[in-house]
């Protein structure tokens, strides 16, 4: 059985002379959360909108749940759920009416339980115009998942949400994933992408600059892990350059900060130095490069974030 739910092969999208997406290929398997990352204008929204059947591709092949989005729009609607980044509802419609309205078009009973689940119980009969940005996004999500789609497209789903709503949304996404829903997530929130996605692709100038699991992508970068050390007597403050194989980057709030490509030997060397100088370790923190660091490294042409090691 073929479990590929989203197939994108040599996909191209142009707007006049401007090529927004140029020969992109990737596949998403059933039950996977796939993160699509990239700076503004990288081609994320064009890719999503062609997969959702909102725009026509200019080249390549697209398939969503076995359906060609550009040719079988009606069939596609029952299989996908979409939370658009830019969408709206009539000002006077209430969340309860909106749920009734769209569920009727999907041929199902209204899922008012989703409004409760996403914290909209008290706003059921409030006009859409009077909802906050976060409430509007939660309503859009409730409407997107009401018909239990096989594939869910989420474009910046947590933008404008408070912490509690984000946690609830992430929990809902994991629940949907456990039920076999495939999720394509476009986001600027790297922590969200790293925490939720099974695999991610970073789009840059309409092409895939990196793809894989978050761990694979971060490992493929400059590979420098941040090691922060604090000692009782601050012996490391004077040790810059005198520990073999270890170069200190900065002193920050009583911590000596190092960047290392090989963490094990670096930590051993640091501990050895501290002990040999009659000092004692108070705190040791090891932070591997995050997806955000790797993203910045890719989008800045390999330069990473400004706070990285300068030598």
């Amino acid at each position: 059985m073929n479990d590929t739910m989203i197939a994108v092969e040599k996909f191209r999208k142009t707007y006049g002379d401007f090529t927004a997406v140029d020969g992109v290929s990737f596949a998403v398997q059933r039950g996977e959360i796939f993160g699509l990352l990239g700076p503004n204008g990288a081609g994320k929204t064009s890719t999503l909108e062609c997969l959702e059947g909102l725009r026509q591709p200019d080249g390549g092949r697209l398939s969503v749940a076995g359906v060609d989005p550009s040719r079988e729009a009606r069939k596609l609607r029952g299989k996908i759920g979409v939370q658009l980044q830019a969408s709206g509802l009539p000002d006077s419609i209430s969340p309860a009416d909106a749920m009734k309205f769209f569920c009727a078009y999907h041929g199902i009973k209204p899922r008012h339980d989703l409004l409760d689940r996403l914290g909209l119980a008290e706003k059921r009969n409030t006009a859409y115009a009077e909802l906050s940005t976060g409430q509007k996004r939660r309503l859009a999500l409730a409407l997107a998942v009401a018909h239990q789609p096989e594939v869910l497209f989420l474009d910046e789903p947590t933008a404008g949400l408070d912490v509690a709503s984000r946690v609830e949304l992430h929990s809902l996404m994991r629940e949907l994933q456990a039920q076999g829903t495939t999720i394509l997530l476009a986001t600027h929130d790297m922590a969200e992408a790293e925490g939720l996605s099974d695999r991610v692709a970073i789009l840059l100038h309409g092409q895939i600059a990196a793809a894989g699991t978050p761990l694979e992508i971060t490992a493929a970068g400059a590979g420098l892990t941040k090691v922060s050390v604090r000692t009782e007597r601050g012996s490391l403050e004077q040790a810059n350059g005198s520990i073999p194989g270890v170069r200190q980057h900065a002193l920050k709030e009583d911590y000596a900060v190092y960047f290392s490509a090989d963490v094990g030997p670096t930590v051993s060397a640091l501990i050895g130095y501290i002990e040999s100088h009659g000092d004692a370790l108070v705190d040791l923190r090891v932070e591997r490069p995050s997806l955000e660091d790797r993203f910045l490294e890719i989008t800045n042409g390999g330069h990473g974030r400004e706070t990285g090691p300068s030598n």
Binding site: L54, R55, S87, G88, P90, D97, F102, A104, H106, L143
Partner: protein, 269 residues
């Protein structure tokens, strides 16, 4: 309840909460009707004979040309139509639901005019009620078709106003609402035949009032229906979910084809 019935019901409830729409659909045409009844019947006694159809057509024009196009442009710009598309709401339903609710509102306004025009202003009632209903329905179809077409092809709210006024103002001046078609100079008569209002008045006079008319009343009725259906068809064909989507099937200028039945009437009638 079917999806369309539910859609229309929600549309109707929304329209009842929309003060601007209620003003344009009820207050403005009924106030104009009362003013015309008080003043125009004194100035021009001939007006009394065509007062009921003229005021009904006025109400139809206001409710369709002034209220249908702009919400479509606003919905497209606000991303509402994109939301509809991703949930599989057909373009036909998006255009039809407000048309049906407009028809329901107009039925109330027409009933008020019919119930009050004779006792208040001595306006003659129709001699054939069935034809009166048929012509009213055809007029709503014709003007609503043009209203949704204007909404679909217009790039902004200002453009909807411009196109609507292009039909509304000549209709008021030479469409037979204020003065009979026969009183117009030959050149103006030719232009008047391009207007749905002229055909609606001609159909009312010939079919619902049994009066002598300058050209075939049945043909006018047919032109209204064909024109309305053609305008709806073109609106669906030219429908664009998204302002940024430049992959529309046809250029908006194809909307002008909706005038074909009216142009044909100049040549054939």
């Amino acid at each position: 309840m079917t999806a369309f019935a539910n859609h229309t019901w929600i549309e109707l409830r929304s329209s009842l909460r929309n003060r601007q729409l209620l003003f344009l659909t009820y207050a403005f045409p009924l106030a104009f009707y009362a003013m015309m009844g008080l003043i125009m019947t004194e100035i021009n006694p001939l007006f009394t004979a065509t007062m009921i159809p003229a005021m009904v057509i006025f109400a139809v024009m206001i409710a369709t040309l002034m209220t249908l196009p702009d919400p479509l442009v606003t919905a497209r710009d606000a991303g509402i139509l994109r939301s509809y598309k991703i949930h599989g709401v057909p373009a036909l339903n998006i255009l039809s639901a407000p048309t049906v609710t407009t028809f329901l509102h107009l039925a109330v306004v027409t009933a008020i005019i019919l119930a009050t025009a004779t006792p208040l202003f001595d306006a003659p009632a129709p001699t054939d009620w069935a034809w009166f209903g048929a012509v009213t329905l055809a007029s709503v179809v014709a003007f609503a078709g043009l209203g949704v077409l204007i909404g679909v092809v217009s790039s902004s709210s200002r453009a909807t106003l411009l196109w609507s006024q292009l039909i509304f103002l000549p209709s008021m001046l030479i469409g037979g609402l204020m003065m009979p078609f026969d009183f117009l100079p030959a050149g103006a008569q030719t232009v008047a035949r391009l207007l749905p209002a002229t055909h609606a008045m001609n159909a009312y006079n010939g079919l619902a009032y049994g009066a002598a008319v300058p050209f075939s009343a049945s043909a006018s009725l047919a032109i209204l229906l064909i024109g309305g259906v053609l305008a709806f068809g073109l609106a669906i064909l030219l429908f664009n979910w998204d302002r940024q989507n430049r992959t529309a099937r046809l250029h908006p200028a194809f909307g002008l084809l909706a005038m074909l039945p009216y142009v044909a009437s100049v040549v054939l009638l």
